[in-house]
């Protein structure tokens, strides 16, 4: 029974990261209909921001989260404004191909700059833990989850509580009407992509606390983002959180009770069942 609770805790703690990774991906996809294959490489860049700050100025990674967010926001804003906006109305496959090219470019540029060797952030508190009965909770993972919750809450506040946020949601529902009421779509799209990329950057910092840095580190997370954002419902903030934690738990239990080697397969099969039974995701709107 101890093992059961430990696995449950492991799953929930892992889910926080998945949620933040998926959140940005889901926003960009849900609002602009762009499947951003460069999301994983944005995550990698965010992780390197945290690493650079830590290695050079001993900045605690948790304090780097806003920095990585801002750096990646600006980066994403420019990418959308000066590259993606030129083809954003073409069929979804066009931007799919574009972001694929972008991801190749970024990963290999990172390989040139940072080289292929594996880097890691070893904080003084890495590995520290406390016990709840027989269940051990690592502090880093707990704080990662807390950070994920805070980021998600802030994102939700922004989208519902600010003028820009409301304009974004309006645009995702009806781009024509939004334009008529004076929304500058090009600018707004750039903001959305900036947010998506900023969230990827923040997720990268969280990832760097438990996973090691390498130019291609973002790829496995990209695939998880795909799955999580559909589990939760495209474009939905709460959905990404629920989907992320659910994915974490599924992966943990699947690996424990069905087969360690089937870690991902179990979660994916559940995804297929969810899709077939409820094609718009658990938290998605009833109509697609």
């Amino acid at each position: 029974m101890d093992l059961f609770f430990q696995i449950l805790v492991n799953g929930i703690l892992a889910g926080g990261i998945f949620a933040v990774v998926a959140l940005g991906f889901s926003l960009v996809w849900g609002i602009m209909n762009i499947i951003n294959l460069a999301h994983g490489s944005f995550l990698m860049l965010g992780a390197y921001v945290a690493y650079a700050l830590f290695a050079n100025y001993h900045v605690d990674p948790f304090l780097s989260i806003p920095v990585a967010f801002i750096v990646m926001f600006v980066f994403g804003y420019l990418v959308q404004k000066y590259i993606i906006n030129f083809v954003v109305r073409a069929p979804i496959l066009t931007t799919f191909l574009l972001t694929f090219g972008l991801s190749l470019l970024l990963i290999n540029a990172a390989l040139l700059v940072f080289h292929g060797d594996i880097k890691g952030i070893a904080t003084s508190y890495s590995g520290a833990n406390f016990s709840l009965g027989a269940v051990v909770v690592p502090w880093v993972k707990l704080w990662t989850l807390v950070a994920a919750l805070v980021i998600t809450a802030l994102m939700q506040l922004f989208l519902t509580g600010t003028k820009t946020g409301r304009a974004i949601r309006a645009t995702s529902m009806d781009i024509g009407a939004a334009q008529l009421s004076g929304v500058r779509v090009a600018h707004l799209y750039a903001i959305v992509f900036g947010l998506g990329s900023g969230l990827a950057g923040a997720a990268g910092v969280l990832v760097s606390l438990s996973y090691s840095l390498q130019p291609s580190m973002g790829e496995p997370f990209l695939i998880k983002a795909f799955v999580v954002c559909v589990l939760g419902g495209l474009g939905s903030v709460q959905g990404a959180l629920v989907g992320g934690v659910l994915y974490g738990i599924l992966e943990a239990f699947g690996s424990q009770y069905i087969g360690t080697g089937l870690q991902d397969a179990v979660a994916l099969v559940v995804l297929l069942i969810v899709l077939i039974v409820r094609p718009t995701g658990i938290m998605g709107k009833a109509t697609a």
């Binding site: 996809w29 499947i35 590259i83 906006n85 030129f86 083809v87 954003v88 109305r89 073409a90 069929p91 979804i92 496959l93 066009t94 799919f96 191909l97 574009l98 694929f100 090219g101 972008l102 991801s103 190749l104 470019l105 970024l106 990963i107 290999n108 540029a109 390989l111 040139l112 779509v185 090009a186 799209y189 790829e219 695939i223 795909f226 799955v227 559909v230 495209l234 087969g259 080697g261 089937l262 870690q263 991902d264 397969a265 994916l268 099969v269 995804l271 297929l272 899709l275 077939i276 094609p279 718009t280 697609a288």
Partner: protein
Amino acid sequence: MASTSTVKVLQKVGMGGITGNRYAIYVSCAVLAVLLVVPSLHNGYIENLMRGVLMFATLSLGWNLIGGYTGYVSFGNVVFFGVGATTSAVLWQHFQQQNILLAIVVAAFVAALMALVLGFPILRLKGHYFGIATLGIALATQEIIANIDWLGGGSVTSIRQVDFFSSYYYAMWAICALSLGATWFIARSKFGYALVAIRENEEAAAILGVDATKYKVFAWMISAMMAAAAGAVFAGANGSIDSPTAFAVDNNVFPIVMAILGGVGTVAGPLVGAFVLTAINETLWSRFPEIHTLFFGAVIVIVVLFLPRGILWLFAVRGGFRGFVNSLKAYRV
């Protein structure tokens, strides 16, 4: 099959099947014919390279049938390639069969069966959700195969190669030619019109008497057979297979990229895309050995910005350079 009258209605409302530019098809056939002489050059590198082009063209043609013509964008067609490659390996490991034709037939059969069983629930999903479901199937299948030792598990499985090595080349050539021919035939048939009708407006097509589910599943089965056949030949030609190689991300993404580059939903687009992308990749690779992948990414970005709908689309643009620029503007915000 949709009745003849239904097809006529579909054509009238502009939902007829398309084959794309006629000349592109002629050129593709000519190129394929030329490729038949490659083995007689006795240059292993060129043979290997061209076998790769044919393999990717086949995968791309397969993807194009479901993703391009039917409009069901699959992100996991590599699953059929992987299953085909695994079939080859199992045939050698457990039945001592190295016969290429047998491998192709069994692989295609297994893949078609899989597409049939999975197709009914999965092809009900719309748009993105279908894409994600296929991605999920591909990843899950890879992991499941990697956990079944009889299928090779996570390890490398060797396959005894046939004595006349160019057999693999000719086999890949035949599969590619067959896929191109099948696509051309389908695009002009009632079946093809039905697929395009489903893509343009599934509900309307259904009202006009198109049994959408049946057509979609059938299209996916054909698509699966193309990919599986290519996988079966690849495994033999490579001499060994492991699940990360069989289900490689490259084998999943490149065919889509090639179809987009050539022209989605056209007969010759995938072949054109496969040639152009391979040519770009090989050129960059030999000129800039250190940073070719970076340049490759940059080239893709540039190509997309100027050819957002693929190369064959250029032939459809009217009005010279100005027409070209105007058409680009339509995609901006």
